[in-house]
């Protein structure tokens, strides 16, 4: 663990990312304290530029506080990012593990299925899903999960496939361990690093995807989201630039932070084992 922190903190970007991410989480947690009341309520006159009338980041076309919208929107973004990633991981890890461990025709079938989902234009498919199942937070999470699992399945399958033929897994077979015990104690712990790294990147892309859906008007109509804020500012960008600029910055910072953390995790979890083996022969 200590080692892990040392390697993680050696990547300065990753530390910066972690700090930003913690700040975003803090804002999400304290949204009700900093901006009590509903972000949908009118707070001042419409189109107030930033800094005026106590509106830190200006107000929108209905006089709502943009800063309050961003703070409350962070909850939805983080929540959608986390939940859809967990769902996608659940699908991807189980399918990938199945394919990689069992091999044979199961592998073939699962990989064809995965390839299919990887081929279809995922964003168009997500739009279709949300539109047909009517936009709610549930259908948004569902759609994002459905289009984001294929990379997980591929990574997990590749890891399982290579680990399955490794000698320590064969040794476990020869010891007579059950299949489940081998998967849980021998394969999965060694396949974890890439999954962890991948999931931080998936949360990032899920947040981007959610904001794009909301931007197109496919967000849950009852929830304030960053994408919705940008979407509503689009048509009035000539008179109220702040309505689009600030929510976009919020998305950018959050996604950037997640990417940086992902790189840090990758550095920390994959100390080049190969180096030790090579040596100065």
């Amino acid at each position: 663990m200590k080692d892990f922190w040392r390697r993680f903190s050696r990547n300065r970007g990753a530390v910066v990312g972690l700090v930003i991410l913690l700040l975003v989480c803090l804002v999400a947690a304290l949204a009700d304290v900093i901006f009590p009341g509903s972000p949908w309520d009118m707070a001042t006159a419409p189109f107030m530029p930033p800094g005026e009338e106590g509106m830190l980041l200006g107000s929108d076309s209905l006089g709502r506080d943009v800063a309050a919208g961003i703070a409350h929107g962070s909850r939805i973004s983080l929540m959608v990012g986390a939940v859809s990633t967990v769902a996608a991981l659940a699908i991807g890890v189980s399918l990938g593990a199945l394919a990689g461990y069992l091999g044979g025709w199961v592998d073939d079938a699962v990989m064809r299925f995965t390839e299919f989902f990887q081929t279809i234009p995922s964003f168009v498919f997500a739009i279709l899903l949300v539109a047909i199942f009517t936009p709610t937070i549930g259908s948004v999470v569902f759609a994002i999960a459905v289009v984001s699992w294929p990379p997980v399945a591929r990574v997990v399958r590749a890891e399982f496939l290579s680990l399955r033929s490794r000698e320590f897994v064969q040794a476990a077979e020869v010891l007579g361990k059950s299949r489940l015990a081998i998967v849980v104690t021998d394969i999965l712990p060694n396949a974890l690093s890439p999954i962890v790294v991948l999931s931080s990147l998936m949360v990032a892309s899920a947040i981007l995807l959610e904001s794009a859906l909301s931007f197109l008007g496919l967000g849950d109509p009852n929830l304030m989201t960053w994408g919705f804020l940008i979407g509503s500012g689009r048509s009035v960008i000539r008179i109220a630039w702040w309505m689009s600029v600030f929510p976009g910055l919020a998305i950018f910072l959050t996604v950037l932070a997640l990417n940086l953390v992902g790189e840090g995790l990758s550095d920390a979890l994959n100390p080049r084992l190969a180096r030790k083996r090579g040596g100065a022969a």
């Binding site: 081929t119 279809i120 931007f215 940008i230 976009g248």
Partner: protein, 328 residues
């Protein structure tokens, strides 16, 4: 691979592509049925909900009173003859609507793709060759920035900057309104309109290609055959071009195939921001009107585009990498 194997390879990939397309049609069919409510009203969308006669016609056309497999067969036959349904709202067949919009989308995605690949690979190569230098840091930071920025927001910011504040470039549409232009002038006009949308769509993928190229270049540079090249006295520039880059581009080709679908998806957002008259914009309008027939048609057509593009990258890969064998 050897050229003699090419026809067989093409045949196998063609069959595979056809199966994927078939699966997409089936997927569409089940989506219509999985949606809440009567399939007929799903196909008709909100606009058709009030029109009983149209609904009855739909039920008749899709055989909705017949068993599911018969319906699937009718639907399949329809799609495979390019009958993608009828947009009741626009009073035009879906295929006609899409065909009108297709050229604009191809122009936009094509321009963005070329920009992303050429600039991305160049920047990635530069960064890898000077790894650790300030040039590398700047390229890496730029790549990371565009990688983390929502596409539509980049579009809005470009509009804000170049159209609203600087007033250099038009912010929407594909042609100037109210003027009749011909020949070169018309092309220039389109190019001017194309610049911002293509840049918006291209920047994200530029970042992706730059990162990927940098990473694979560094990986390949560590391999034994690069050392062999140095040991036989190949000059450094030639080592990079002939040995490192040639191998590092293989994953880039693979990736181009994988992300083709994302490029098409991104074009929906960009076309919405810039009011670009392509199928993305068509999809957005259909979305607002809940015109599902058009949405399903767009999904089908973009999928076919992606499958076709994948076929092309597969072929390119097979030509570039001699190791591609007979595997399915």
């Amino acid at each position: 691979m050897e050229l003699s194997r090419l026809p067989g390879f093409l045949l196998r990939r063609g069959v595979k592509a056809a199966l994927v397309i078939l699966a997409i049609v089936v997927c569409n069919f089940f989506l219509i049925h999985a949606a809440p409510g009567d399939p007929a009203s799903v196909i008709a969308g909100q606009s058709g909900a009030a029109d009983e006669r149209f609904l009855a016609q739909l039920r008749q056309q899709f055989g909705l009173d017949q068993p599911l497999y018969v319906q699937l067969w009718i639907y399949l036959k329809g799609v495979l003859t390019l009958d993608l349904g009828f947009s009741h709202r626009q009073q035009l067949p879906v295929w006609t609507l899409i065909a009108q919009r297709l050229p604009a989308t191809l122009l936009l995605t094509g321009a963005a793709f070329v920009l992303a690949v050429t600039a991305g690979v160049t920047l990635g190569t530069l960064a890898a060759r000077r790894v650790g230098s300030w040039a590398d840091s700047i390229i890496t930071v730029i790549a990371l920035t565009f990688y983390a920025t929502p596409l539509f927001w980049v579009g809005l910011m470009l509009v804000l900057f170049f159209s609203v504040w600087l007033e250099w470039l038009p912010s929407f549409g594909m042609n100037s309104v109210g003027v009749e232009l011909y020949g070169i002038a018309a092309m220039l006009d389109v190019a001017q309109h194309l610049l911002l949308p293509a840049l918006t769509l291209g920047l994200f993928y530029l970042a992706v290609y730059a990162r990927l190229t940098r990473a694979t270049m560094l990986e390949v540079a560590d391999q034994d055959f690069v050392k062999t090249a140095r040991a036989k006295g190949v000059p450094e520039g030639q080592v990079v071009r002939r040995h490192v880059l040639r191998n590092a581009l293989l994953p880039v080709i693979t990736f181009a195939g994988i992300q083709a679908g994302q490029l098409v998806g991104g074009s929906i957002l960009v076309e919405t921001v810039f009011a670009w008259p392509g199928i993305g914009r068509l999809a957005f309008d259909a979305l607002l009107a809940r015109d599902y027939a058009v949405l399903l048609g767009v999904f089908f057509c973009t999928s076919v585009m992606v499958v076709g593009f994948n076929l092309m990258t597969d072929l390119l890969y097979a030509v570039v990498d001699p190791r591609v064998e007979v595997e399915g």
